[in-house]
């Protein structure tokens, strides 16, 4: 087994050849014969009653095929929400309809009012400008607390108020937590905001709908992280197309970060219109449109209280969070502030009593849903910020305070419903101290001071639950889907393999890592294995890629299918070598009979499977292809420790990240280079949130940060060279590869690390600043110093 191919090898990404040479095949590269183009006329006000939409004149303009409005979708289903949350009072969440095109009201800037389909995109856009829309303005509901005030304008007239749900977790702990906090030796309180973000994948969303009259089959090509989920949601709930008449394909996808999980109105529109018009219909989002139509992330306002006893042991934790849902419930929006957030509030610590309250609120803003980390960054940020503040208030070392309260025995059942299978938090923190050279910090601080800069050190520990998720558990928690994964391993006659996986790669490198696993199991060159994904026509029902689940769940399904293949191949080999099945071994691509010199090559056996002349046909079917569905028995719990050193310019408030180190425990690692890349990208997004990014609406609901002129994205020059380590490994105990997810860790762990560092820097300069909300911009830092 060449070591540059199997598990543990930093194999170069094979998909990069096409991505870097312009040969990627993205949805926008799909152009079908007779294709028409759609332009969506979107609301430019945040909240209003649709009085009239006059399309008559516009419909006569050159090239226009048809103009659709909400009326055309009255008989069509509502875009569904995939997770039911139950409020503290036992009532189900309030779940308003979400029409494909606005009906009766517009509820956010960007809400689609009409769709013009024309021969060319410019013609569609010209005609959209000729549509006469009359809107009676209504007061915009923007601030979450005002949205819940008595008499507030309702975003959805048919709901009783703007509260989607009021969730308590664990409700039975509420009184005990209140009591513990009341009687605590010390309580540290922090109020903070985890600001709204725009996902901004490099590739904007695209949808191409097609319809074949000859077999009555609809096809949707779309920029999705999970084509089967889109097929299920759109087919069963919105358009009423059975799955055998609907194909959804997501070819190369240029980044998602969560924003391409969800089923969007534009997908349903293109599929619907293609059938109506008997023409393929294509939509390509502009960047400006992405800012007002892609689901956004985060937007939590939280008060957190941490209680400690006289020996600085954590005794209780209580949080109250307002979570912005936006104007409609996006696919997984309701699960993010609840199960993906509340279950993580224990962090790495053995706090015995925890109570989390979340109020989800409708506002006249773009819907909010999962964004890299989804709920777990929000949990980690609160917890690690309040611990840092507690350490300062108590005058103790923040690392020592953390260590003292670490969970050290596994498995560990938290008071918030999850069981950590394995971990070693002291090991990653020890590793961090080494790789971040924390001993050298004071000397570096002095060097910075000599230059007139304030230097700060921020440290952060994190744990996250990923590898989503045990279906029976999430079903009990309200999920309207299973969260298994699937794989078909097809062995061809000459020994090459194709793995058809339900996971979807949109930057993660599956085409490289998945073959490394198969190569290792069989002992062949990884280049003999091809990965297919992203098309419901040729992959088994899969749930797609998000929640750092691909290798942990999708990889496990592939291993199970490959195990079945190998078991069958051994039977064939046993027959061919006239040996007992139990004596057959497979190593380095050779089948051998234990204790003899008999052997057969992998290719000899695969050929026999398809040319079954010498074959046990009475006991075994020909062919070599197996499918497996894998449903994880638990989440995986990657954990680690991060450190960041910043310099603050006291004259301007500008923060520069000088050093950044990450020690992660991802269990076993398939491709270290790709894992490092995932951590690098996650840190960039985390630092981006901490210092730069923020999606801001004014009080009328207009987006103030609708372009890159005002929405600050991190750039290479804003980031230092990271030191990344994943040598601390406690393999996952319940999946066959012993792997944990790695895709979200960087984005989860880095925001509090950076903010802790900035606060430390300001404190070192004598500024009594306890907290600055993200993004910690120069203006905010300067203001805090005044």
């Amino acid at each position: 087994m060449p070591k540059d191919h199997g598990i543990g090898a930093s194999t170069k990404r094979r998909e990069d050849v096409r991505f870097l040479t312009g040969d990627g095949h993205y949805t926008d590269d799909i152009n079908l014969h007779g294709q028409a183009y759609v332009h969506f006329l979107r609301s430019d006000v945040a909240h209003g009653r649709l009085v009239s939409v006059e399309t008559e004149e516009a419909a006569k303009m050159p090239g226009v095929l048809r103009i659709f409005t909400g009326k055309d979708f009255e008989a069509v289903g509502s875009i569904p929400c995939g997770w039911l949350i139950t409020s503290r009072d036992g009532q189900p969440m309030q779940e308003p309809p979400h029409p494909v095109l606005a009906q009766g009201k517009v509820r956010h800037v960007g809400d689609p009012i009409a769709a013009v389909v024309a021969e060319t995109y410019e013609q569609a856009r010209d005609a959209a400008e000729a549509i006469m829309v009359e809107i009676e303005d209504l007061p915009a509901v923007i601030d979450m607390k005002q949205a819940l005030a008595e008499g507030a304008t309702k975003v959805h007239d048919d709901l009783k108020d703007n509260l989607c749900y009021d969730w308590g977790f664990v409700e039975e702990n509420r009184e005990a937590v209140d009591k513990a906090i009341k009687e605590a030796h010390h309580v540290t309180t922090l109020e903070l905001r985890n600001q709204r973000l725009v996902a901004n994948p490099m590739e904007p969303r695209v949808a191409v709908g097609d319809y074949a009259r000859h077999n009555d089959e609809s096809t949707l090509y779309t920029t999705s992280q999970n084509p089967h989920v889109i097929r299920l949601l759109m087919g069963a709930f919105v358009l009423g197309i059975p799955e055998h008449k609907l194909r959804v394909a997501a070819p190369d996808v240029g980044g998602g970060f969560g924003s391409k999980i969800f089923h969007y109105a534009e997908e349903a529109f293109c599929t619907f219109a293609a059938k109506q018009l008997r023409r393929p219909v294509k939509w390509t989002s502009s960047r400006a449109e992405a800012f007002i139509s892609d689901a956004q992330g985060r937007d939590h306002v939280t008060k957190i209280e941490l209680a400690l006893d006289k020996d600085n042991n954590f005794t209780a934790l209580r949080t109250e969070t307002y979570a912005n849902m936006g104007a409609y419930l996006s696919t997984f929006s309701t699960s993010v502030p609840t199960w993906l957030h509340g279950t993580l509030m224990a962090g790495n610590y053995k706090t015995p009593l925890i109570y989390v309250n979340v109020k989800a609120v409708f506002t006249n803003t773009v819907p909010v849903d999962a964004y890299r980390g989804a709920g777990r960054p929000e949990a980690t940020y609160q917890l690690e910020r309040v611990i840092d503040k507690a350490a300062r208030e108590l005058g103790v070392d923040p690392l020592a305070l953390r260590r003292q309260n670490f969970v050290t025995e596994f498995p560990y059942a938290t008071p918030v419903a999850v069981e950590y299978d394995t971990g070693d938090y002291n090991a990653t923190l020890d590793k961090l101290e080494e790789i971040a050279d924390l001993k050298g910090f004071e000397a570096r601080r002095k060097e910075s001071e000599a230059k007139g800069k304030l230097r700060g050190l921020g440290v952060n520990c994190y744990i996250e639950a990923c590898g989503i998720a045990p279906s029976n558990l999430v079903g009990q928690l309200g999920a309207r889907a299973g969260l298994y994964e699937s794989a078909t391993v097809r062995v061809n006659a000459t020994g090459g393999l194709v793995v058809m996986t339900g996971s979807h790669s949109h930057g993660q490198g599956h085409e490289t890592t998945f073959p490394q696993v198969i190569a290792d199991m069989i002992g062949i060159d990884a280049n003999m294995v091809e990965i297919e994904h992203g098309d419901t026509a040729n992959t088994p029902m899969g749930m797609g890629t998000y929640g750092s689940r691909s290798i942990a769940v999708g990889g496990s399904a592939m291993v199970r299918a490959a195990e079945k293949v190998i078991a069958k191949a051994k039977k064939i080999a046993a027959h061919m070598m006239e040996a007992s099945e139990g004596d057959i071994e497979l190593k380095d691509g050779q089948f051998t009979v234990a204790g003899t010199d008999k052997s057969l090559a992998w290719g000899d056996v695969t050929l026999a499977a398809y040319v079954p002349h010498n074959y046990p046909l009475e006991e075994l079917e020909p062919g070599l292809e197996e499918t497996a569905f894998y449903d994880p028995s638990n989440f995986t719990y990657p954990a680690g420790a991060y450190a960041c050193e910043v310099e603050v310019d006291p004259e301007t408030g500008k923060v520069t990240v000088e050093r950044f180190a990450a020690a992660d425990d991802f269990g076993n690692v398939i491709n270290p280079m790709i894992v490092e890349g995932q951590v690098h990208g996650g840190i960039a997004q985390g630092v981006g949130q901490a210092l730069l990014e923020s999606c801001v609406y004014d009080e009328t609901g207009q987006l103030l940060t609708g372009t890159y002129m005002d929405y600050a994205m991190p750039r290479a020059g804003d980031l230092p060279s990271y030191v990344v380590d994943h040598s601390c490994r406690t393999p996952c105990t319940h999946n066959p590869l012993g792997v944990k997810g790695c895709g979200e860790a960087g984005a989860i762990a880095s925001p509090p690390t950076v903010v802790n560092a900035v606060i430390d820097a300001l404190q070192s300069g004598g500024h009594k600043v306890d907290h600055i909300d993200m993004p910690v911009s120069p203006a905010r830092v300067w203001q805090a110093m005044q």
């Binding site: 004259e651 301007t652 500008k654 923020s694 103030l704 940060t705 002129m709 203006a779 300067w782 203001q783």
Partner: protein, 262 residues
């Protein structure tokens, strides 16, 4: 974008003539105009590209004046003024990214007069001159507020003349998203005077900070402005910084520019 005609004249005269058509619009490097067109925020009948006009090209020292052709790209300015006019070279080298610097032109930037553009600070500090196809306009007359200049309809900037300073520097404090200056200060030191041009800060666009100019004329050192104070009144205030913050930064950036002047 809406449909438009496109013309690429080879001479200044031809360009002037082309621009006489109603709703014709001059196109320099297109770094502002093209995005505006793409958003359908402008609907010119004709774009007149100035790229093919030899008279607008060329950067040359003429005695104690630097003459920059209106069509000079930021990249060309950065390269060709190095060693002649350090502050201007530095400024041009930090506008946008390489793609922007290879397309955007000084004439285009000054004609647009974005309140957060860099060049206006240099032109104001040096009290330079904008030369057009019809006349010469002094910096203080040229800038007339946000996106407003003394240029008449169809008037084309042919060159910009900067009196060469002994020492100069530009300090840009970047707005985090656009990386335009939130506040940019250009300092130019001459034998008998000092110019301080401030961009990005004021609601009226670029301005000369005259108190600082006077103080620095007597003592060209950062401490010279220690006792001065910039009023927040009339400063811009937005997501990225309050008026008070911008006013504060004017002083900080001025001191840094003086300290770094070469």
């Amino acid at each position: 974008m809406y449909a438009f005609e496109f013309e690429r004249p080879g001479s200044l005269d031809a360009a002037v003539k082309a621009l006489q058509e109603e709703d014709a619009q001059a196109l320099g490097g297109g770094q502002t105009l093209i995005p505006t067109l793409k958003q359908r925020l402008a609907m010119p009948s004709k774009l007149v590209s100035l790229k093919g006009i030899a008279e607008l090209q060329g950067i040359a020292q003429e005695g104690d004046v630097l003459k920059v052709g209106g069509g000079s790209t930021h990249g060309a300015v950065a390269r060709e003024t190095k060693g002649i006019f350090a502050g201007l070279s530095l400024m041009a080298s930090k506008i946008g990214d390489p793609a922007v610097r290879n397309r955007g032109t000084m004439g285009g930037s000054l004609a647009n007069n974005d309140p957060a553009a860099c060049y206006p600070a240099a032109l104001m500090a040096t009290r330079g001159t904008v030369v057009t196809n019809t006349r010469e306009i002094a910096a203080e007359e040229y800038f007339q507020g946000l996106f407003t200049t003394a240029l008449e309809e169809g008037e084309i900037i042919t060159s910009i003349r900067f009196p060469l300073p002994e020492k100069s520097n530009y300090q840009k404090f970047e707005q985090p998203a656009s990386r335009f200056p939130l506040v940019g200060v250009f300092v130019a030191k001459y034998g008998d005077r000092v110019g301080v041009g401030v961009t990005g800060a004021s609601e009226d666009g670029v301005f000369a900070w005259k108190e600082a100019e006077e103080a620095l004329a007597g003592n060209f050192a950062p401490e010279a402005v220690d006792d001065l104070w910039v009023s927040a009144e009339g400063m811009m205030s937005d997501l990225h910084g309050t008026a008070e913050y911008r006013a504060h930064l004017v002083k900080v950036m001025t001191k840094r520019a003086v300290a770094a002047a070469e």
